[in-house]
Amino acid sequence: MNGEHLEPRPGDDRESFDASDNSPRPVAETDEGSQELAPLDETSQVELLIERGGVLRLPESDALDPDAGDAAFGAGETMILNIGPQHPSTHGVLRMMVELQGETVLRSKPVIGYLHTGMEKTGEELTYVQGATNVTRMDYLSPLHNELVYSLAVEKLLAVEIPPRATWIRMLMCELNRISSHVMWAATNGMDLASTTMMIFGLRERDLVLQFFEKVTGLRMNHNYIRPGGVAADLPDGWEDDVAAVVDTIGARLKDYDNLLTGQPIFRERTEGVGVVSPELLLALSTTGPVLRAAGVPWDLRRSTPYLAYDEVDFDVIVGTAGDCFDRYAVRLNEVRESIRIVRQILEKMPPGDYRTQDKKVTPPPRARIDESMEALIHHFKLFTAGISPPEGEVYVAVESPRGELGCYLVADGSNRPMRMHIRAPSFVNLQSVPAMLQGGLIADMIAILSSVDPVLGEVDR
């Protein structure tokens, strides 16, 4: 790439400004070029490979050959089209740049960053106790998984054990969150494919779960419920009946989804054979989650590297065969059924006991203890002013969020704030496979394909 696109803005007299100001300024490194899809004759061979989704032209070779792409394509008139960032079908502020020949997509590039709010930087400013409030806002459709991965990472740094009931409550909430996220995906996917009924269905089912979340955590989204050391509060009285009602209702209504979409010829026409990618390409592109499983790779972190108590419940890992949009739909729909299965087992197996660890350096004392114990008062005060200080170290923890591998890399320097908090966001990584799915397809299929990847832009941009 070159910097010719960056034209100096009017009034940009940086040269004269530098001459008069001797204070150290950040080095201007703005010559790295445009983020946009460049015209064909300015695009390098390797970049072209990415934009055409052909990074695995030589699947058996160890290294990618930059000269493998053929530049001699696109004869005739082509057009570069901007879709987004304000487009209802790009799922948030995602901007797609596609080069079209007629209606065929020749190459494409997602342009992101419109929702970047510096949450990793913010995470370094907050203490470990406050951190869960920050991460829960990243993937707003599965906030509990964000809290979970952060809490697991902090607990691994601290080397604290959490009680069994806290583990099972976390599992219950995360599986319910997976259900709500997947039905919300079904809703937006339906809307993208012009099935507004599906949108209403999905939102209706999601609301059942959110009402239960509100009862437990006080909030419908951004719960800050799973915290280092356990969960914020025990489940309310009668939670078994609420959960049973939620999963019974949703389980029964999944038949409506099948009636409406699964066997419907129009839906199948629009999704079958659309956006096919090979599992080898997806593995090379670091893709995870339902997109990878739909291509036939049985990789689910709940099964392959079990965390929480997923090795004590019985569930199937759903895989597809074709790796097209329909398989991604089918995988998610059946994962809702598996989550319902897990939730029913949790209802039977929920152990009694504490919902958070009794380690006084991690968990605040109960309110009543503060009145009678000086020690409890000190612990309470220290925990909410200074917070927790894990020993030096670095950990990487990954969980299976509804979109794929959600990882948290934490570096502790012995103080009460993380020195580095990095979230490996599945949507951010999965977006890389979109050009491979789009290439050679029709522009109308782009909407179906983008939707089938299920990017959440809050998480992509963080």
Binding site: V27, P66, G113
Partner: protein, 168 residues
């Protein structure tokens, strides 16, 4: 996670690469020169996916624990590789000096690192030599500086009556 020592007999190229046990995970410390070679060897040994790549700035914490033979530098590039067949992960930590924040790109071994390296460049200012599209990804393309560096202030909104000046 790969327990320390799991890799030793499996990948002969790892001889001489310092390794450590970090909370039960195996961490390797290849030099910048051997980094791509080691990653290629690991990929041949079944680590087909690079699940994560990020950069860390140790400006405020230079005295961290490192195995013998690894000289601390300001920046680190941290790569997490994943083997689906064995269900193990291994982490590579590459030292990148402040004076020359350049690291070879992993794109030609793991094409999935494309976005992650762009993010590491954008937010931490590590240049990845040979990356096909080294543009910013999250910040605007005319942004100056790299926000995740430890010497880059977060900025403050001034609070009335407090008179508290911001760090920048």
């Amino acid at each position: 996670m790969a327990r320390p020592g799991w890799l030793a007999g499996r990948v002969p190229e790892l001889a001489g690469v310092p390794s450590a046990d970090s909370a039960g995970d195996e961490v390797l410390f290849p030099s910048r020169e051997r980094y791509v070679e080691i990653a290629t060897a690991l990929r041949r040994a079944g680590f087909v996916t690079c699940s994560d790549l990020c950069a860390v700035d140790y400006l405020t914490h230079p005295g961290r624990q490192l195995p013998a033979g690894v000289a601390p530098e300001r920046f680190e590039v941290v790569v997490s590789l994943l083997s689906h067949a064995d269900a193990v992960r291994v982490r590579l930590r590459v030292m990148v000096p402040e004076a020359d924040p350049v690291c070879p790109t992993l794109f030609f071994v793991y094409p999935g690192t494309e976005n992650m390296e762009r993010e590491a460049y954008d937010l931490m200012g590590i240049r990845f030599a040979g990356h096909p599209d080294p543009s910013r990804i999250l910040m605007p393309q005319d942004w100056e500086g790299h926000p995740l560096r430890r010497d880059y202030g977060v900025g403050r909104v001034p609070v009335q009556f407090k008179e508290a000046p911001g760090p920048r």
